[in-house]
């Protein structure tokens, strides 16, 4: 469990994270969403004690992480796949990490095999692709078998097979009762990965809810109607409480009524329909419109 309380980080006049309060719970995959520069990475670094908050604080399982002498058995983190020395082999890199935390060196080869790097273990990391470095970072996060895992944009650079594997891994880690916190700037990635969403924009909390609640609230549905008798149909629908946007003389977009109801109303009034199509706007566009206006949302108002 990660408890973030009024967390704030300022760099001079810039506020990277602004009074962020939220809780990341065990047993679920929590997506941490926000556009580039929203403060996701800064927040993750403060969770790990790498950056000191200007105000507020954060605890992991009730304790500030920076106060622990060794970290790998408490939190496994992949912040940036590039946070390695390219001159070392993957095995040497993980061996140093394992040794520092008194983790048996046998875990190193286990972890490398788990992420599919068994054959590349002896090669210099500098020659790895981004996807391979992501896998190495994930292996490092798993070394200590920790109850809390943090991943900053872990899907970057992974091939489709790798993306599927990572999603399965996150699911399994959460099902084992661990806290899994995954950041991303792409809603499309999180839609298939996360159970809960914490959305931030310009360092402030915009949404903290389950993925289902988020889609119910933000994904608007509309119905496209093509008819030679758009004007009388629009009249009928407006009386029923719908909004009709006339796009072309014979084509409109209706919100506020389901497609079935529109069809029934057209039949009752003897109006011809050429096309009737239900549309659901994607979560991605909902996320984009939400974060585009992030300044207008104070932390508490989103609820």
């Amino acid at each position: 469990m990660i408890e973030i309380e009024r967390l704030t980080k300022r760099y001079g006049a810039t506020t990277a994270v602004d009074q962020l309060t939220c809780t990341v719970r065990p047993g679920t995959v929590t997506g941490f969403l926000g556009p580039n520069g929203a403060g996701k990475s800064t927040t993750l670094r403060m969770i790990l004690g790498l950056n000191t908050p200007t105000e507020g604080g954060v605890t992991v399982d009730g304790v500030p992480f920076a106060g622990r002498p060794r970290g790998l058995r408490h939190v496994g983190a992949l912040l940036d796949a590039g946070d390695v020395h390219g001159g070392r082999s993957a095995r040497a890199h993980l061996s140093a990490l394992a040794r520092s935390n008194r983790i048996p060196l046998s875990r190193v080869d286990e972890a490398l095999a788990e992420v599919g790097l068994g054959k590349a273990a002896g090669r210099r990391i500098g020659g790895y692709s981004l996807g391979m470095k992501q896998r190495l970072g994930i292996a490092g996060a798993l070394l200590g078998d920790p109850p809390v895992l943090l991943f900053d944009e872990p899907l970057n650079g992974l091939d489709p097979e790798g993306v599927l594997w990572v999603r399965g891994l996150f699911r399994r880690l959460a099902d084992e009762g661990r806290t899994v916190f995954v950041s991303s700037h792409m809603m499309a990635e999180m839609e298939h990965t996360a159970d809960r969403l914490i959305v931030i924009g310009r360092g402030r909390l915009i949404a903290d809810e389950s993925l289902a609640a988020f889609s119910a609230r933000h994904a608007e549905s509309s119905v496209a109607v093509r008819t030679p008798e758009l004007a009388p149909l629009a009249e009928v629908l407006r009386v029923e409480g719908a909004e009709v946007e006339v796009v072309e003389p014979q084509f409109g977009v209706v919100t506020g009524l389901p497609a079935a109801r529109i069809g029934e109303l057209a039949l009752r009034h003897g109006l011809v329909l050429h096309e009737l199509a239900a549309r659901t706007s994607s979560l991605e566009s909902a996320f984009m419109s939400l974060t585009a206006h992030s300044v207008e949302y104070a932390a508490g108002e989103a609820r």
Binding site: L50, R70, D80, G87, R88, N101, R102, E110
Partner: protein, 287 residues
């Protein structure tokens, strides 16, 4: 893809965490150092070259000892100084810059690659990490310094024994000179670590090392202003010159030369300040 399960079920995970040990951090730093060939090669190669340079210097001098130059009027007779030639400046500068660079690289290397974040996420006890680094780098460079100094001293004086100008380690200031010639190497490494931690940038760290070791002494020489001269004689490499100075030689020193104790303290203060700067800077700063 492997079917092995890395992640153990909840029950198995409840196992108690073993107590943290400093030796684990030391071992981890040793793995890091050992797995980057370029870094320790720098030190090994510089040490070897330094020994060769010292031996070659004395070897070339044998001719002059056998055929001493004619005595100049008003000067004392030619007297060969085995300390000045056998524990030479060039070899000292070489090991100094190699050790300083090694120290700087081990610190700025973690920052410039971003590895420092991975390191501190694994070991939040930053003081432990940096203490292990200081101890390891200090120890290895001390060993290199001891080897260079001892081999240079004994090899060159063995060569000089046949000319009856060689010194034994118990004679005169030999022991002090050998110790100082060795001790400056880890001190330079610690200064390198401090600069690496302060600047966190490869070029800036190395340039500032060169400035401190080689350029500043040139700017603070002279015999006109005492305070300028005093600054110069308290720079890191100036201490070696004073501590290896052989009073039985015909070489003269400045009228403001510091005492032997003064130079030992200066060397110690440089080391202590370097360690303090490294620890404080690394602990305080965001990474």
């Amino acid at each position: 893809m492997s079917t092995m399960t890395l992640v153990r079920p909840e029950a198995a995970r409840a196992a108690v965490e073993p107590a943290p040990r400093f030796t684990d951090l030391l071992a981890a730093e040793w793995i890091k150092l050992r797995s980057l060939r370029s870094t320790y090669w720098v030190l090994a190669l510089a040490s070897l070259v330094a020994i060769v340079v010292n031996i070659n210097a004395v070897h070339s001098d044998l001719t002059y000892i056998d055929h001493p130059p004619a005595r100049l009027p008003g000067f004392p007779p030619f007297r060969y100084d085995p300390l000045y030639h056998g524990l030479g400046d060039i070899a000292c500068y070489l090991t100094a810059i190699a050790a300083g660079s090694l120290g700087a690289i081990t610190v700025f290397g973690e920052y410039t690659t971003g590895l420092i974040r991975t390191t501190f996420a694994a070991v939040p006890d930053r003081r432990g990490v940096i203490a292990a680094k200081v101890l390891l780098i200090g120890g290895i460079t001390a060993l290199a310094g001891a080897v260079v100094s001892a081999v240079s001293f004994f090899a060159t004086n063995a060569m000089l024994a046949s000319r009856h100008v060689g010194l034994s380690i118990t004679e005169g200031v030999s022991l002090r000179a050998v110790l100082a010639y060795a001790a400056i190497v880890p001190v330079c490494a610690l200064i390198g670590m401090a600069l690496g931690a302060l600047l966190r940038h490869a070029t800036a760290s190395i340039v500032s090392l060169v400035l401190l070791f080689f350029i500043l002494p040139l700017m603070f020489g002279g015999d006109r202003y005492r305070w300028l001269h005093e600054i110069g004689s308290h720079l890191p490499l100036s201490t070696v010159g004073r501590l290896t100075y052989n009073p039985d030689s015909s070489t003269t020193t400045s009228k403001w030369a510091p005492s032997v104790l003064d130079s030992w303290i200066t060397m110690g203060v440089w080391a202590a300040v370097a360690v303090a700067v490294t620890v404080v800077v690394v602990r305080r700063r965001d990474v």
